[in-house]
Each structure stands twice: as C-alpha cells, then as structure tokens.
Symmetry: C2
Amino acid sequence: MKRLVYFISDGTGITAETLGHSLLSQFTDVAFELNTLPYVDSLGKAQEAVEEINLRGTERQCLPIVFSSIVNPVIRNHLATAKAQTLDLFERFLPALALTLDQQPKQLVGQSHSIDNNPSYTQRIEAVHYALDNDDGQQLKDYENADLILVGVSRCGKTPTCLYLALHFGVRAANYPITEEDMHKSSLPSALQAHRHKLFGLTIDSERLASIRHERRANSNYASFEQCDYEVRFVESILKKSRIPYLNSTHLSIEEISAKILKNTGFNRHIA
Amino acid sequence: MKRLVYFISDGTGITAETLGHSLLSQFTDVAFELNTLPYVDSLGKAQEAVEEINLRGTERQCLPIVFSSIVNPVIRNHLATAKAQTLDLFERFLPALALTLDQQPKQLVGQSHSIDNNPSYTQRIEAVHYALDNDDGQQLKDYENADLILVGVSRCGKTPTCLYLALHFGVRAANYPITEEDMHKSSLPSALQAHRHKLFGLTIDSERLASIRHERRANSNYASFEQCDYEVRFVESILKKSRIPYLNSTHLSIEEISAKILKNTGFNRHIA
C-alpha cells in the first residue's frame, strides 16, 4: 500500500513539491502516492483540504504526510489540524530567519513564483525565445548574443539542457549539432571558431545514444550503434583537440547537466 | 549593503535555492546577494565553503545566511561550523519524517534531481520534444497525441508555458497561435474542432501584448495597440463562444500559469 503524501501550498505548489520530493527521495524502500493541492489560500479551502486528508487517511488506515508552504499563519494552523504528519516550510524556518534579519516577514502569498518578486523573469523568458531561435538546425545562428553554445551530436541532450538553462537561470544558450558535413573536416566547424570561449561540449555513451535514436527512428542508419559510435568518437576527438570543456550526459538529468555546466563556466544563476 | 546568502548543496543546488528563495521572498525590504555552491560533497569542499563564508561575512561585518540541503551528516555538521545562520532542510525535517515512516533515511547524495529517482524523467524529456515539434507555426500538428493544446494570440505566453509544462510535469502540450487567417471566420479553427476537450485558452491585456510585441518588432503593425486589441478581442470572443476555459496571463509567471492550468484541467503532476 502506497503511503499518502500531500504537497499543499497557497501558491503554485512548486516549492512544497521540491522540498518534499527531496526529503522523500531518501526513503527509496517506501512507495508514495503523491498529491498536490495548489492555491489553498482561504480558510474554506484549508477546511476542504483537511477533510480530504482525514477521509483518505482513514480509508488507508495510515497517517498521511503533508509538506506545506503556507504563508498565512491562520490558514497554516488550520491545516495543521489535519490528522497527518505535517511539515511546513514557513513554520520551521521563518522564525529563525526573521530573528537574524531583525524583520517581520510580510506574509505575502504567492511571492516565490510571481513575476514581481523575480527581477530576472523577463530575462528568463527572453532566454527561452533565444534558445528556441538558436536550436538545432535553425537557420538563424545569433551566436554573438549567446552566453553559451552547447556542441554535440544529435540527441545527446543539448536542446532540453538549453531550455532548462534558459527557463531557470536566464542563460542564453544556443546549441550546435555536429553533422555529417562537419565530420568531413577534422577541425572545429567554422561557424564556431570565433566563439570558442562560449563553447561547451556534451557527449554520451554510444550505446545509450543508439537506444535514444532508435526510439525516434527505429532501425535507421542514424540509430545504428556503428553510426552513433563514429559520431561520438569524432565529437570527443574534436572537443579534446580544441580544448573545449565537456561532460558525458549518459547518466545525468538535465537539472544535473545544467548545474554542472553553470559550475564549470561560472555563470551567475538567476534563480527562478 | 546587501545581505550575503549562500545556497549550498551536495547536488545541483536547486532544492536549496527553491527553499531559500521562497523564504527570502517574505522579506521584501531587505536586499540580498545570492550565491550558490553546488556539489559540496566532501569534507574538503565543505571546508572551502566554510572558509569562503567566514571570510566574506567578516568583510561585510554581517552574519551570512546559509540555506543548505546536505544529505551526509558529517559534511552537514562541518558546514554548520561556519559563522552563519544556517538553515538545513535535512536537519530540520528528516528526523520527523524518519519517525513517521519508521525507516532510516538512505543518505543517498544527489537523489532528488537524478534520473534514477524520477520514474517520469523520460516522459518529461519526450514531452519537451513533443512541445518543440508542436510549437507555433510548425508544420506538424500531432494533436492526437497532445494532452493539452494552448490557444491564443502570438506572444501571449503559450510557448514558454508549454515548455514549462513539459519539462516539469511531463505534460504533452501543443500550442496553436490564432492567426489573421483564422480571424476571417467567426468560429473555432477547423484544426482544433476535433480536439475541443484538450483546448485551453490564454489571453492577455492588449496594452501588455503591444509592449511585448514592440520589443520583438518595434513600430510594426503587429505591435500596434489597435492590432493587438483586435486580436485579443477576437480570441476572447471565440473562447467564450466555444466555452473553452481560459485565463489571462498578463500578471502571471509561467510557473503560475502552468499551476493554474494543471489545477483547472486536473492533470497529474509528474513532479521533477
């Protein structure tokens, strides 16, 4: 029987989910059923949430776990009456923070993911459009305005990584897929030569690449192990020869690839 | 003088940033200087972090604030020796969670944003590629496989929202821009008729739309208030007439738009 978990927030629920997910991931032997209740921003909605939690907890005969981030103390206290193990972000951390800052918290609901409280919001959205305009195979190559250019073979993770870097960190990330044509030369493609300092390489294990490409175009030459291996070896040799930093994406999520690239390149993280 | 803040993690740093950002956003009168130190996963790196925090705190003559998510108790305890107000996610919440689950935490580093611990990771990446393939003006319109189709005028926020929904929640979101051609008819575009139950509308204030478009194509007819207002009114009338749920994106971030759409449509949130 899966253990019931609720992420409850007076805003989007993203903070409560992130917090809870991080903690739950330390208990890999337990199965969880995850539920998110966003925008619980009134006593009435808190009452509905409490009723749902109590009802479902009783059905399962097991105490639900609640991760919450509720700014308003009255709503938070009401939610705390649920028959559950409740862990609230604000309750646990806000008093210590208020003390060290010598300020009272504003009790502003929905701040964390609002436009108003994110000075870099516009920069992030512009970076997304930049990443789309400068993605694989686009005609436009506005590398002058790039913060970063990811280089690698097709389907090694460049596109989702660029989008993640743009969406979360406001980094203007372009990407350049190394193609068959580039492989006829043994040096860095000419379009990249002038932007060497912005380049970062992504590589991947040949077998993993073949498996990813196979899902896209089954049994094609494009997806064959031989073709994948040839491309990967070529790209790695070019990256090494040109002394371009790179990492292997095989076992990494886009969050991890992004964090490692930012650490390696020293970019400022404009936090979402 | 800005108050020094550190987000420190043995993994990507994303959880510590999310947690800290949420708490700091309650203190809008204080200016903060934000620093992220990811991959602090050894005693040596913790020592370096402590030295940096102490040095910079002394320079500023003000106690730095540290938000950390460090799984290993030895590294965590070492970090806690920094002259700082340290708030650690695991220290505060893990004991209560271990007790209610009647399990010892695994002390696995870097779990939260790893591929292994995210069964929906592949689904999220596939959804990103789906969103890209079914974005504004693409030839391919694979609406059969869409979970959701966002409808609205050009530049009202459809594309970044689709990408966010895909990246974070694994939702296959396509988007359909209402064009001049569609406006010659007074009904739902024919490409959308068969997928009515998947449609969700985005609208925006005409002035805000004009300002966004102006940044893209200054002084064009496309960016004129009259054109924007005409398009917005048309789309709103079609959405109302066809009884398609919609929301106004003017004052909302993509995180907020996404959370509201998910709440409204009842989609499962595959949590990143």
